[in-house]
Amino acid sequence: MSMGSDMYRQQILDHYRNPRNNGELGDATFSHEGYNPSCGDELEFDVKLEGDGETIERVAFRGDGCAISQASASMLSQKLPGMTLAEVKELDRDDVLDMLGVEVTPMRIKCAVLSEKVVQDGAKIYEGEADVDQTSTEDDD
């Protein structure tokens, strides 16, 4: 049985209190927002691609929500630069959970994966493969 308190390791709390890459990009290639209806967590990511139109150069995000969703966004924002959109779209739930490095209880999984889903949907919309106004975690599993 994984315990709720186990989720709040120092690293998670640090990212929650001092989110990296928090803010906006003036020169974003694309932006996308998402919402977790079961928690009310909100996130918006700006992504700037390199000249190849494929590789992520920089990202920034703004958000509001629980420690898990915000720490996950902060950690993901550090991992993304250098990845291609194709690689981003390959990310799955386990990658996110590995990145967080804690056991996430079942009802909090949606908080954890919101950031990944927002960036993936943003990439798909940018590449014309999807058409969603706002990402939601409800259809996740």
């Binding site: 709720g4 919402y35 209806p37 079961s38 209880t105 079942p106 009802m107 909090r108 706002q134 939601s136 409800e138 259809d139």
Partner: protein
């Protein structure tokens, strides 16, 4: 109907799961329960779900972080997966829990019909629809100006498919037909109807209230857009039913009931909807009932849907043939070897209600009346009929008890 070669069911041991079947009625007559098309009995394995749930992990679902809510949410959501698997749907997105077949049909009629139907559109039913579809489409058509058409049922109780092909024309927007009639026992060619509907860009709704309980059903093979059925007719609890819908159809459709859990975001100005299937499940859902229905699906699969169908066919054929021996008995619908597990009939000179009262003294529980198909009864030109309907726990001896007890009524009315 192919008579699948099946091991006979071990009915004796099955009956041990249904304590109610040991009951007596009236002056000590053993119960002979032959009213299964109205409601089936519920095995211990399903009854136990209720005490396990309420004693173990009762909580509101979806939004709770605490452990009880986690446990209830997972069980309730997985119940959708289980039912999807049971009817061959692609996943939980395609399975909406409702309170019964009737609500499932109303959901489609309100959410799709009220928004999409208009003058010049036709809704195509059959003459043997249950009131749940008959009255619903009649009312929605009246409100929207659409026309209702009725596919003829021929003298043997079959759908007149030439007539169907005529009625399902380019004006047809919805075809809503029963898959197995609850009176005649007729099994309709659902896939053929679906093809006719789709050739004319119409949607099709199959009423599976009498088919899902009694035979293997695969909605993907049937290619229906909607399919509806009730838990209480398939060894499950009262108060739960299903609406199957193709994912893209459910995605396009407006919601029906509004409230908690079906929304994504609500402001004073506007609202956006949740994802499937929750978009169609407003408010605190039928949690214990949904989990109970999944247990019923488990139970039926353990017995085996092929074996259930084969056993019921044997019972039905036997009942038909025994009843058919009497000159004063009229049976409605297709021949003995080509029908679902219901036999509706009348005995000359004895009103259906009087017959049912007298049979009850002998422990035999059958239904008498119009079976929620008044228009079909008008067509058959009878006020009422009695109906014996079987489930996999019934025995040949129970069929004999039914047939033999008719004599008691004949003695009184003879």
């Amino acid at each position: 109907m192919e008579a699948t070669e099946q091991e006979p069911l071990d009915v004796e041991s099955i009956r041990a799961d249904f304590p109610i079947l040991d009951r007596e009625v009236g002056d000590g007559a053993p119960l002979v329960y032959l009213d299964n098309a109205a409601t089936t009995q519920t095995p211990e394995q399903v009854i136990d779900v209720f005490s396990e749930y309420y004693r173990g992990y009762n909580a509101n679902v979806h939004r709770g972080i605490h452990q009880l809510s986690q446990e209830a949410s997972i069980a309730y959501e997985e119940a959708h997966d289980r039912l999807a698997e049971f009817i061959g749907a692609d996943g939980r997105e395609e399975v909406v829990f409702t309170k019964n077949t009737t609500e499932s049909i109303n959901l489609v009629a309100y959410a799709w019909g009220l928004n999409e139907l208009g003058e010049g559109d036709a809704v195509v039913l059959s003459e043997m629809e249950h009131h749940s579809s008959f009255v619903t489409w009649q009312q929605i058509a009246e409100r929207t100006g659409a026309e209702v058409r009725y596919i003829r049922v021929d003298d043997d109780g079959y759908l007149d498919m030439d007539h169907a092909a005529e009625l399902i024309d380019e004006d047809a927007a919805m075809v809503s037909v029963v898959h197995a009639s609850n009176v005649l026992g007729t099994v309709t060619p659902m896939r053929e109807l679906a093809d006719l509907a789709h050739d004319n860009d119409a949607l099709i709704l199959g009423d599976g209230a009498q088919s899902v309980p009694n035979r293997p059903v695969d909605v993907t093979d049937l290619d229906v857009d909607f399919y509806v059925f009730s838990g209480h007719k398939m060894a499950g609890p009262t108060g739960i039913g299903c609406l199957y819908g193709k994912q893209e159809v459910l995605e396009d459709m407006e919601p029906f009931l509004y409230g908690g859990d079906m929304i994504r975001r609500v402001t004073f100005e506007e609202t956006t909807w949740n994802d499937l299937p929750w978009k169609y499940e407003a408010g605190t859902p039928l949690i214990a009932q949904g989990i109970g229905l999944a247990a019923a699906a488990d139970y039926l699969d353990d017995v085996g849907m092929d074996a259930i169908q084969a056993h019921e066919e044997r019972l039905t054929e036997y009942a038909y043939e025994r009843l058919d021996e009497f000159d004063d008995v009229e049976i409605y619908g297709p021949p003995a070897d080509d029908r679902g597990a219901v036999v509706a009939f009348n005995v000359d000179g004895i009103h259906a209600h009087d017959l049912a009262s007298i049979l009850n003294d002998h422990g035999v529980a059958i239904r008498a009346g119009d079976h929620c198909t008044q228009p079909l009864h008008q067509k058959l030109d009878i006020a009422a009929s009695v109906r014996a309907s079987f489930y996999f726990y019934n025995t040949m001896a129970e069929v004999d008890a039914l047939v033999d007890s008719l004599d008691a009524a004949r003695d009184i009315f003879g």
